[in-house]
Structure formats: structure tokens, C-alpha cells
């Protein structure tokens, strides 16, 4: 195995990791602000993947172009879900929240099964078979598109929280919900917007992942689990941590697959998770509680 092999493997891991990071951002945003762990995270992403799939097959809109519409739709879904359902369960014990979100996840998976059946579906773009050659490096075109779009969405999200009034208000809610209420912020409204932003991130990630993987209803549990690994690695509630966690998981899967055995690559993601839990339980970029 020569150097170009390792360069190719590392670049593939890095690019996939960025998309993983975007997927985990939604989970991290919701937990960071509301302290609710969204166990229906992967299922919402599968909804987005099917939405992007339908937009491509019925309207001919490519997933990257469909991204704003799908993310917008998921924002509305998340907003309504928080406003009318999850909001009632804020402040209750964690296992009740867990059961609620698990129920939502099961309902979504079964609804997808009823509508689309169990078959895996994929889309074919001209770019699906294309790659960029940079010297010895061969970069998968769709992976590059997906990774750059993921980076762009993450940058937008960061700018929203940093520079907009709503973003600042959401950060205030995250820091001190009582204080935020005292100064007159509509906390319920801000929570609903946050949940909407979290699901919109998942929606964006779903559109991009459709470029890389086939969608089927049972995909959700895999990605919910992967999302948790990533945010725990990077630090729950940390935006940078989610991206870093995604990149670490992508790289560890790629390198362990190349150096040891591809069928063992998931083992290394979990190994990394255990290592971080032992050495830095709050995650790499997480704050101590």
C-alpha cells in the first residue's frame, strides 16, 4: 500500500466526516439549548432523505438544490412538534422524554414503511460516477459537493447564533432560561425555533446523505446511534464539537478499515467513544457541567 492509498482513504474519511458532523449538529443544537435528547433524530433525517428523493424523482430537482426546501419543511415540522407536543414534556424526568421521542421515532419509521415500503431507494446523478483527480488523489465528486455544502450550512448556523438577535436570544435561553424569561424573552417560541433549526440541520444533512447512501426506513436507527457517538465525542451542545466529532468518526472508520479490516470499522468508532468517555466525559470540546 503506497502513500496515495492513504491519502485517498484519509480524504474520503474527512469528507464523509463533514457530512456526519452536519447531521450531528442538529442533535447538539437541540440538546445545548433545551436539554432534550432527540431520539427521533435519525428518523427525521430519513424523512428528509425521502423528501429529497421525491423531489428528485418527481420534479427532477437535485438534492443540493432541494436542500433549502427540505430544510425549510423540516424546520416547520420541528417547530410544530416542539410547540404542540414536546414543550409539554419539558422539565419532566428524562425517561419520560426518552419514551416520548422514541414513540415519535417508531411512528415515523412505520409511516415511512407504509408509504415507501422496505426497499432501499437511491438516486442517480451524472456526478454519482464522477471524481476529481488531483495528482495521485482521487476525490469522489458527490462527496466533495456534500462536504462543502455541509461546511457551508455549518458556517451559516454559526453566523446565525453569533450575529442575529434571535440567535443571541437562543443562546441566552441556553445559558439561563429563567433569566431569559425575566428579561421578557418568549422562551417557548425560542425553544420551538431551536427545535426547528435542529431538525432543519438534519433535513440538510438528509439531502446531502442521499447523495452518498441509499435510503430505506430502517436506516434511521443507524444514524441516530451515529449521531449520539459524534456529539458525545465532540461534546454535547457544542457546535464545533459536533463537526469535530463527525470528522473524527469519519477518519477513524476510514483508517481502521484501511489498516485493519473494513468489517471492523464501526468497532473503532465505539472504541473512540469509550476512550473519550473515560478520559474526558464531557467530550472533546464540551464544557464541564
Amino acid at each position: 500500500m503506497d502513500a496515495s492509498f492513504f491519502m485517498n482513504v484519509t480524504s474520503a474519511g474527512l469528507l464523509t466526516g463533514l457530512v456526519y458532523g452536519l447531521m450531528a449538529l442538529g442533535l447538539s443544537v437541540i440538546f445545548g439549548v433545551m436539554r432534550v435528547v432527540n431520539f427521533a433524530h435519525g428518523d427525521m433525517m430519513v424523512v428528509a432523505m425521502y423528501a429529497a428523493f421525491l423531489m428528485f424523482t418527481k420534479l427532477g430537482v437535485e438534492p443540493v438544490m432541494a436542500l433549502p426546501v427540505v430544510a425549510g419543511g423540516l424546520f416547520v415540522l420541528g417547530y410544530l412538534l416542539q410547540r404542540f407536543l414536546i414543550n409539554r414534556f419539558l422539565g419532566v424526568t428524562e425517561h419520560i422524554q426518552f419514551l416520548l421521542l422514541l414513540s415519535i421515532a417508531i411512528i415515523i419509521t412505520n409511516a415511512m414503511l407504509m408509504v415507501f415500503g422496505p426497499d432501499a431507494r437511491n438516486i442517480q446523478l451524472e456526478a454519482s460516477f464522477e471524481s476529481y483527480s488531483v495528482g495521485p488523489l482521487i476525490l469522489d465528486k458527490v462527496r466533495v459537493i456534500a462536504a462543502f455544502t455541509a461546511g457551508g450550512v455549518a458556517a451559516l448556523l454559526w453566523a446565525f447564533f453569533r450575529y442575529t438577535t434571535t440567535g443571541t436570544a437562543i443562546r441566552a435561553c441556553a445559558d439561563n432560561p429563567i433569566g431569559a424569561r425575566v428579561v421578557g424573552l418568549n422562551v417557548e417560541q425560542l425553544y420551538a425555533i431551536t427545535f426547528g433549526i435542529g431538525t432543519a440541520c438534519v433535513g440538510a444533512a438528509g439531502c446531502l446523505l442521499l447523495l452518498l447512501v441509499d435510503v430505506h426506513p430502517h436506516l434511521s436507527s443507524d444514524y441516530t446511534l451515529l449521531g449520539f457517538i459524534i456529539v458525545i465525542l465532540g461534546g454535547l451542545g457544542s457546535l464545533g464539537g459536533a463537526l469535530l466529532g463527525g470528522i473524527l468518526v469519519g477518519l477513524s472508520e476510514a483508517l481502521s478499515g484501511a489498516l485493519i479490516a473494513p468489517s471492523l470499522k464501526s468497532m473503532f468508532s465505539f472504541g473512540l467513544l469509550i476512550l473519550v468517555l473515560l478520559l474526558r466525559p464531557q467530550g472533546i470540546l464540551g464544557k464541564k457541567p
Binding site: 500500500m1 503506497d2 492509498f5 485517498n8 482513504v9 474520503a12 474519511g13 464523509t16 422496505p118 426497499d119 432501499a120 437511491n122 442517480q124 454519482s128 460516477f129 464522477e130 471524481s131 483527480s133 482521487i138 469522489d140 465528486k141 462527496r143 452518498l212 447512501v213 441509499d214 436506516l219 443507524d222 472508520e253 476510514a254 478499515g257 484501511a258 479490516a261 473494513p262 468489517s263 470499522k265
Partner: protein, 414 residues
């Protein structure tokens, strides 16, 4: 009692004549009724995994069982299907088999997966009901001494040996002999079984190439870029694969992206690369992939008729070996019933033992069963995708087109 009722004590000659005439008519109606009982349709219990993880294949088999019924009727066969779903679970298969027998099935057919087939074989044996296996490669199915089990599908050994030996024919036909191969295989029980078979048979069959790298992967893998990068780094002359459907698509797509051109992508006998979804998903890149597998005999009229009927009824589905072997299983059952002239399981079993069907759909000689219930007259073909269609290219006597080996580079395809 009315005045017109017959009173034996007061029977007139006229009344006696009338009664006798009615009796004669009744008797004359009764005679054909008895012969109709002998020709009562065969109640065939069909056990297939129509739900669960094998649902897609189970449904393909179900289509194979149903699509041929009008054709069989035209040939004078009389068969009625009693369908049951094994849910891809041997325990459910066993329970469903018992239920079908209780409900009057004269014969059983199924079950695609070997574990369920073995479970149902146990029930058939216990109840003394004949069981025709459509698909199921586990050697034990016909090596365990079952008296009521008949298999028209190659055992794993036959499948592996037939598939590997065809590589020699491929190289002879093309005049090109590669020296090295990289093997990419799924790591489920089927994939590991195939790997075991390949490793055991390779030294015995004196094949002209060696496997320089073996790469196992999860059939549910979402991404196979690393596996393909590793395979490419092995710099082998050609690729051998043991796949299912979705991973086969992922593999070839990734090979195109990573510009991994070899002499060919071949399989010694696994599903995936001949599937309609594979052809549709990969378009021109699906061409020249080949699989060595039992297949339709394009020279048999019945095969052509079945394919045409199937394509018309299910234009989006693959008319593949699942359809072919399941159709043949129904044909075998119906043929035994026709010859037996009875629905008695014992008589049907004897008729199955004497099976000799020359006009069939799959490649091989006449369908006949050995003492252990195995049909040995089965043959694999090299099926290569050409112009978007799985095409028999070897054996030469059944070939529809010439084998293309080495395959053209991905970039040169138009």
C-alpha cells in the same frame, strides 16, 4: 307427506319406471363425479419468506409460483396454491407448514432459505407429506436421509464447484488468462459459506489464478469506499465478488469513481449483479459484470415463454433464477400429481420419485431425482450483463452472445 311422494308399499309400475329413470340419471352423473375426484386440483402449500429480511426474494419467488399457473393449466396440469408467509423465520415456517397440512395441503413447496427449508423438511417427514424445494443450497437438505424431500436446486458444493469451474471456460473462451484476483465478499452466513467453499475448492480445481487479497464487509454497509480502495491497492487482474443487491451497486459505483479498471467484475455464484435494480442503478457501468450461476436455458421454449409472460406482467421486476426455480418447483409438483392421478401424499411421493421432465426452464438435463431427493442434472451458466440485459454467454451450446473479457475500461463506455 304429499300425495306425489313415493310410497314403496303403493308403488305403481309407472312410478317404478320413473324412479328407475331418475336413478339411472343420478348414477350416470355419479360416474364422472368419481373420476373428477381423481382429478381434484393438487393443493400445493407454498412456503416463502414474503416478509422479514428476505422479503424481496420471497416476493420474487412468489411471482415465479403464480406467473406460470395459466401456462401449466394450458399444459393440462391442475394445481391450486395455498400460500403461507414464513416471515424469514424458520420457526414460523415450521408452524405454517403444520397449518397448511392441517388445512389440506397435499404437498409442500418452498422455502428459499436453507434454515427454514430444513425446519419444514422435518415437518414434511413427520407428517408424511412430500416437499419440493425450490431454492435452498444447504447440503443437509438432501443428505440427512429425508424420504419426502425433493430438491431441484444445486447444493452449496455443486453451486461453488460449478461456479468456479466456469472460470476455466471463461478464460478458454476469451483466450485471456488472468493470474491474480481480489475477492470482495459479504460477511453474513451466505458470504462466509461461499468464502469457505472457495478456499476449499480453489486448490482442488487447479484454477490458473490466485486470490491475492480477500476483503470482507458487512452487507448492510452504507459506504464501501475503503473496501474498494483496498481492493484497488491489491492491483489484481480481476475482481471476484460475493454480494447481495445493494452492496453490489455500492461496490461497482465506487469502482467507477475510484477508476478501478480490471479485466472484469465476476461472481462465482451470488445474487445482485443480474438484478434489474442493479442494471437500472448503474446503467452502462453494469455491463460486462458477470455471474456464474444456475440460469434460464435460452434454448428451451418454455423458458422463453415464461420470460415473456413475466416481463409483460412485471415490467419492473427481474425474471431471474428465483422466478425460474420456483416455477419449476410448481411444475414438478403438478407433473407428479398428473401422473399420480391422486392427491394421496404417499402416491404423490412415489410419483415425485419417478419424475423425468425434459421440457424445463433452467439449464441442465431432464429433472430427475436421485435416491436422496437431489436433482443432479443442474448446470451453472456464465451470465454477463450485455446492453443492459443479463445474457447467457457460456456454456457455448446455450449462449445467446459471446463473452466479453477483458471488459472495456469504465471511461471508454458510451
Amino acid at each position: 307427506m304429499s300425495d306425489n311422494a313415493i310410497n314403496p308399499s303403493a308403488l305403481t309400475r309407472r312410478q317404478f319406471t320413473a324412479t328407475a329413470a331418475v336413478g339411472a340419471v343420478a348414477a350416470s352423473v355419479g360416474l364422472p363425479a368419481r373420476s373428477a375426484r381423481a382429478a381434484t386440483p393438487l393443493k400445493l402449500g407454498v412456503l416463502l419468506p414474503r416478509s422479514g429480511h428476505l422479503a424481496l426474494i420471497g416476493q420474487a419467488c412468489q411471482r415465479g409460483a403464480e406467473i406460470g399457473l395459466p401456462m401449466l393449466k394450458d399444459l393440462g396440469y391442475s394445481v391450486e396454491l395455498m400460500n403461507a408467509d414464513t416471515e424469514s423465520n424458520p420457526d414460523v415456517g415450521r408452524t405454517q407448514a403444520e397449518k397448511l397440512i392441517r388445512e389440506g395441503a397435499n404437498m409442500l413447496m418452498g422455502c428459499f432459505d436453507s434454515a427454514t427449508t430444513l425446519a419444514v423438511a422435518g415437518v414434511a417427514e413427520q407428517k408424511g407429506v412430500p416437499f419440493v424445494v425450490n431454492i435452498g443450497a444447504e447440503p443437509k437438505i438432501t443428505e440427512q436421509g429425508f424420504k419426502y424431500v425433493f430438491r431441484n436446486f444445486p447444493s452449496a458444493g455443486m453451486l461453488g464447484k460449478g461456479g468456479l469451474l466456469l472460470y476455466k471456460d471463461m478464460f478458454a473462451a476469451s483466450g485471456v488468462t488472468p493470474k491474480t484476483a481480489v475477492l470482495l465478499h459479504i460477511n453474513d452466513s451466505f458470504g462466509m459459506g461461499m468464502l469457505g467453499g472457495i478456499n476449499a475448492l480453489m486448490p482442488k480445481l487447479d484454477l490458473p489464478f490466485t486470490i491475492v487479497e480477500t476483503i470482507a464487509y458487512d452487507p448492510k454497509a452504507r459506504d464501501l469506499s475503503i473496501e474498494v480502495a483496498k481492493a484497488k491497492a491489491a492491483k489484481a487482474d480481476f475482481v471476484m465478488t460475493v454480494t447481495r443487491l445493494n452492496d453490489a451497486i455500492l461496490l461497482v459505483r465506487e469502482m467507477v469513481k475510484q477508476q478501478m479498471d480490471t479485466m472484469g467484475i465476476t461472481s462465482p455464484g451470488s445474487p445482485g449483479m443480474y438484478d434489474k435494480q442493479f442494471l437500472k442503478a448503474l446503467g452502462k457501468y453494469a455491463d460486462f459484470c458477470s455471474v456464474n450461476i444456475p440460469w434460464f436455458d435460452p434454448k428451451q421454449d418454455m423458458a422463453t415463454a415464461l420470460s415473456k409472460t413475466f416481463e409483460k406482467a412485471f415490467p419492473d421486476e427481474s425474471c431471474d433464477l428465483n422466478v425460474g426455480f420456483t416455477f419449476e418447483a410448481v411444475l414438478i409438483a403438478a407433473d407428479a400429481h398428473k401422473r399420480a392421478g391422486s392427491n394421496d401424499p404417499q402416491v404423490l411421493t412415489e410419483a415425485l420419485r419417478a419424475t423425468n421432465i425434459e421440457k424445463r426452464v433452467m439449464l441442465g438435463g431432464p429433472i430427475k431425482f436421485e435416491a436422496n431427493g437431489q436433482n443432479m442434472n443442474l448446470r451453472s451458466a456464465v451470465v454477463q450483463n450485455l446492453n443492459g440485459r443479463p445474457t447467457v454467454v457460456l456454456p457455448a451450446e446455450s449462449a445467446e452472445a459471446k463473452l466479453v473479457f477483458p471488459a472495456p475500461a469504465f471511461k471508454s463506455r458510451t
